[in-house]
């Protein structure tokens, strides 16, 4: 049974008839040009945006799952978060335990894992973009939700933290979770198990990176071609 089943998801002007099924234990990338509908699809998958069609987790249609139970099934990381108030880093991460009765289990480990221990008492609205992203990811991890939906988690991170997040995502997948993350870096994307390609609000292709990232698709969807130049992955046609 798939962890995530989306059938004919439609959000007028933002997403058109997208259907996909993601099995458990996979690290899945979502790529596509700006405005292709990646964030919208992740919000629909997380049950945060009403859409035409249907969404099911583990075979259970979303409308039948209560708010608390949803939070234990799926975690969502927004593309960017605006923190108006100065909650401490630790308390924001601990919010991931809201649906578990605020038991704080795993919070310290997550702080260590994301290199946030030294920042734990700092107000989150004073952090840099990359540090905030790590706080959001740590909060998603402590939910222990088997379906992890991350909207461009790597973009604000430095090279080292990008790799650490990918390693962590791989560990989660090996433990049976499914991590579905949007990203723009196609060379990082090629290291994932599966890739879904969105183009102009429609699902263009889904499959292994090797099958998907063909020269024809790169040119058609992204308007680039693989480069021969050293150190440069892509170039304008």
């Amino acid at each position: 049974m798939n962890f995530l089943d989306i059938i004919d998801a439609t959000v007028p002007g933002r997403l058109g008839n997208v259907s996909l099924g993601l099995p458990g234990g996979k690290l899945v990338g979502l790529v596509g040009p700006n405005g292709a509908g990646k964030s919208t699809l992740l919000r629909v998958a997380a049950g945060l945006l009403p859409s035409g069609g249907s969404v099911a987790w583990n075979g259970r249609p979303l409308p039948g799952i209560s708010a608390l139970e949803r939070a234990r099934c799926a975690a969502w990381v927004p593309q960017e978060a605006h923190f108006e108030f100065g909650f401490s880093v630790r308390s924001v991460v601990a919010q991931g335990r809201y649906a578990h009765g605020d038991d704080d289990s795993g919070v310290e480990e997550a702080l260590v894992r994301f290199g946030l221990s030294a920042l734990a008492e700092r107000p989150v609205n004073h952090l840099s973009g990359g540090e905030k992203e790590r706080v959001l990811l740590a909060r998603a991890i402590v939910t222990e939700a088997p379906l992890q939906l991350w909207d461009e988690p790597l973009a604000p991170l430095d090279p080292r933290h990008r790799l650490e997040v990918l390693v962590l995502a791989r560990e989660l997948a090996q433990k049976g979770s499914t991590v579905f993350l949007s990203l723009h870096d196609l060379s990082l994307a090629s290291s994932l198990d599966l890739l879904a390609v969105l183009s102009s609000t429609h699902l263009r292709a889904i499959g292994s990176p090797a099958e998907i990232l063909t020269p024809e698709l790169l040119l058609e969807v992204f308007g680039v071609r693989a480069s021969e130049a050293p150190g440069l992955n892509f170039e304008l046609p």
């Binding site: 945060l48 708010a67 969502w76 927004p78 978060a81 605006h82 909650f87 809201y98 700092r122």
Partner: protein
């Protein structure tokens, strides 16, 4: 003043003493407010008055000062906690209880009651008209903003309704230019004050206690809501239910406070803000603290106004609140 790297003014270990300290301060203020006034009472006479052993002191304490003090406490608790809820709802520390037209609706209702002459018929009519006006305004905003009531729509509907209700109030005021007494009554009400509050007003204000208690279990959800609606939903908050409850409680608190004291400003903005600087943004702490802190602030302002020869509460809250607030802002990093 030191600002700790946690962003709070109080060091972590002192935060848990903030609530007991405020409660003690409130108790001391109540005693001071009972003793001071046109006819100051010594500790002995105050005690005799409270025990009804001294007829004159008993009248002053039980009929004049105590209803006013309790009104101040309830109004302060209501405005401050309503401000806190609105700030969490709109995720903006500049939000205030009047944002959605509750206060101006209450003002329009009360001014209408005064102008129509109802206010002099019964003591109950003026507060009742204010509550009806406030609730009607909120209902109006919700209808205008329908369809899930997104934050932006609500805010804009509130702005529009505030303007409209302000115009209604001004129109009524302008039609009574010649009627000095009625206009003075309207003006008094628009400034906001606690003069001559009676036990009836305290009874009208009792829903504030219930609404305040209902806020406590919402505190944790308000933490998550104040960081984003989608985020809160994804973390397990029943967003629709919590938003409805927050809006309903803030409306009742503001409506009742407006009905008792008129349009008192600044409390709902400044008190939660100061408390947040002191102890941080967790609502588990902020909800009880803003109930007590608002009571302390309004009672202190009202007592100061009485001691200064009867300056109305609505003037004092701004005169004390604004400079203090500015001073605090200057000290922040």
């Amino acid at each position: 003043m030191r600002i700790f790297h946690s962003g709070k003014i109080l060091p972590a270990r002192s935060i848990r003493f903030a609530l007991p300290a405020l409660i003690i301060l409130l108790g001391a203020l109540v005693l001071a407010a009972l003793a001071t006034g046109d006819m100051p009472l010594s500790a002995g006479r105050l005690l005799a008055g409270l025990r009804r052993e001294d007829a004159i002191a008993a009248t002053i304490v039980w009929q004049m000062r105590l209803p006013r003090i309790l009104s101040a406490i309830l109004v302060g608790a209501a405005l401050s906690s309503a401000g806190l809820v609105m700030q969490a709802y709109f995720r903006n520390s500049l939000a205030n209880p009047g944002l959605l037209g509750v206060s101006s609706g209450g003002a329009a209702g009360a001014v209408f009651a005064i102008a129509a002459g109802w206010a002099s018929v019964s003591l109950w009519f003026l507060p009742l008209a204010a509550v009806v006006g406030a609730l009607a305004a909120t209902l109006g905003v919700l209808v205008l903003a329908r369809r899930g009531a997104s934050t932006e729509r609500l805010l804009l509907a509130g702005v529009a309704l505030n303007a409209l209700l302000g115009a209604v109030t001004s129109y009524i005021l302008s039609r009574h230019i010649g009627l000095y007494e009625r206009n003075a009554q309207i003006l008094f009400w628009l400034i906001g004050g606690l003069e001559d509050r009676t036990w009836e007003h305290v009874i009208i204000a009792l829903p504030i206690v219930a609404a305040g208690l209902l806020l406590l279990p919402l505190a944790r959800s308000m933490d998550l809501m104040s960081l984003g609606v989608s985020e809160a939903q994804s973390l397990g908050v029943d967003v629709r239910r919590v938003r409805r409850q927050m809006l309903a409680l803030a409306t009742v608190l503001t409506a009742v406070a407006t009905a008792i004291a008129g349009a008192v400003g600044f409390v709902g903005l400044v008190v939660p803000h100061i408390l947040r600087l002191l102890v941080g943004p967790e609502h588990r702490r902020l909800v009880p603290l803003s109930l007590v802190g608002g009571a302390v602030f309004v009672l202190a302002c009202d007592t100061a106004g009485r001691m200064a020869g009867g300056i109305q509460l609505g003037i004092i809250t701004s005169v004390i609140g604004a400079p203090f607030f500015l001073w605090l802002l200057r000290r922040l990093p």
